[in-house]
Amino acid sequence: MMCSPIPVLDAHGHLRLRVRFPYKTEPEQMLEVMDALNIEALAVTASLACWNDVPSGNAEVNDVLRKHGKRFRGYITVNPHVPGEALRELERWSHFHNPPLIKVHPGAHQCPVNSPKYDAVWDYADQTGAIVLVHTWDSHPMCGPLMFPPIAKAHPRASILLGHSGVTWRGYEQAQDAAVAAPNLYLELSGSQRNRTMLERCVNRLGAERIVYGSDMPALDPAGTLADVFTAEITDEDKEMILRFNFLRLLGES
């Protein structure tokens, strides 16, 4: 069985993904997979929160953190459409992690990431030095990577993870362009389109310290992106930064 030679920190996970074709997605069943691959901890958002009901979804995260706090970190997911709810949720679940982990899903919530509806969230993230994981997609009108530099520059204390790094080859190019423009933008690697040589290009252009491993488990199999990192033609030190130490540093746990 393939297994990571170092304990991995995974910046992109979900709880109870019940869409499409769920199979053994309970947290305890995810831990079986994490143990086999040597994934030490997984930062999760509730799928229910991403797609529909933020307060109930964040409560699911709270339950899992109570039960398996060493193995999971919790993102607080926000919905920009309900007036006042985002800040209420950020305060309600502020015990999840310090600095806060915030999940923004502009595609699912159908709200452009640069909408004024998100202003309070970005201000909160800047004030607290939060890590904000945002779903991105190549040229997407809600969350294309090139929408992010102005947001990142206006909120320099926030660390913004470009979830999936735009996914496609062109999306990755856009994510790199964005990260060059703003030092607090990071590439997060989860995704189903693993183009050959792309990770090497990102490391060469940005440096490995701007890239974090994420799986999107239990949507995607964590082994796919892991194997891409393991076998990329970059140094072992770069791989260790991507798989563990960069996210550890952002979490303030190093």
Binding site: Y23, Q193, R196, L220, G224, A227, A232
Partner: protein, 257 residues
């Protein structure tokens, strides 16, 4: 040796006899930065312990079927099993027959090929492929689900391998696998969490063929998912190459096994 070396990570794959059903060779227009000629492709296959691959020629897939087939014919490499690009007209079928094919890749929706898999258009071609059990590859984006069903109903002996299926279509593929014994699919984009395990639990391991999608994708992803799947060793060996070899062994014409 680095603890991240391919041998450390995938060492067990050396014993799997990995045969890859989804590879392209040659130059590419839209993916020119990723195209590979034969020596580089073989080196990349070796890096991931892939012994042999069914390979289409990008010139045929993107541009002209006959030009691509001529380029494919000029590659004399026993590790690459040609996937010829057929067209449904009589002259093209005659050319295909002369090549004694083991595998073909259909590209009906490519505007440079532009045909339909319906019997009134491609019946003669599909009948020939089915009669000789020629391994027939077609990407999901190149065939509508209902057209696929029509082909499987009308040509039940045709060993059809659906490529690039993605990871969101188990509600489609699993019922079709149960209904059509000749349907198979490949693994390069079948990357959802515990998806291989789920498939093997529900449908068995015999209908999934290992595919990398080289040189577009890194082979690491599909190999990593296969290497870590919680399935039996026999199931892993079947997916890695046994199923493809079984299909190729059943071809009744052709020579490039």
């Amino acid at each position: 040796m680095s603890r991240f070396s391919n041998e450390s990570i995938f060492g067990e794959a050396t014993d799997w006899s990995v045969w890859d059903v989804n590879v392209r060779v040659g130059p590419s227009g839209p993916n020119g930065h990723l195209g590979m000629h034969t020596p580089a492709l073989l080196a990349e296959m070796s890096r991931f312990f892939i012994q042999k691959a069914v390979a289409g020629h990008w010139t045929g897939l993107e541009y002209d079927a006959n030009v691509g087939n001529e380029k494919l014919a000029a590659i004399h490499e026993e590790r690459l099993i040609p996937a010829w690009t057929p067209l449904p007209d009589t002259e093209s079928i005659s050319q295909l027959v002369r090549r004694k094919p083991s595998a073909v890749r259909l590209m009906p929706r490519n505007p440079n090929h532009s045909w339909t898999v319906t019997s009134w258009c491609a019946g003669e071609l599909l009948d020939y492929l089915a009669q000789h059990r020629i391994v027939t590859l077609v990407a999901r984006e190149d065939i509508e689900w209902e057209s696929l069903v029509n082909v499987l109903e009308n040509f039940p002996q045709l060993p059809l391998v659906l490529l690039d299926i993605g990871y969101r279509f188990d509600h489609y593929i699993q019922p079709l696998l149960r209904r059509f014994p000749s349907l198979h699919f490949e693994s390069s984009t079948y990357l959802a969490y515990r998806q291989l395990e789920n498939l093997v639990d529900r449908c068995g391991p015999d209908r999934l063929l290992y595919g990398s999608r080289l040189p577009l994708f890194t082979a690491a992803t599909s190999l990593g998912v296969l290497a870590s799947a919680r399935i039996s060793d026999n199931a892993r060996l079947a997916i890695a190459g046994g199923n493809l070899r079984r299909l190729l062994d059943a071809v009744t014409v052709g020579g490039a096994k």
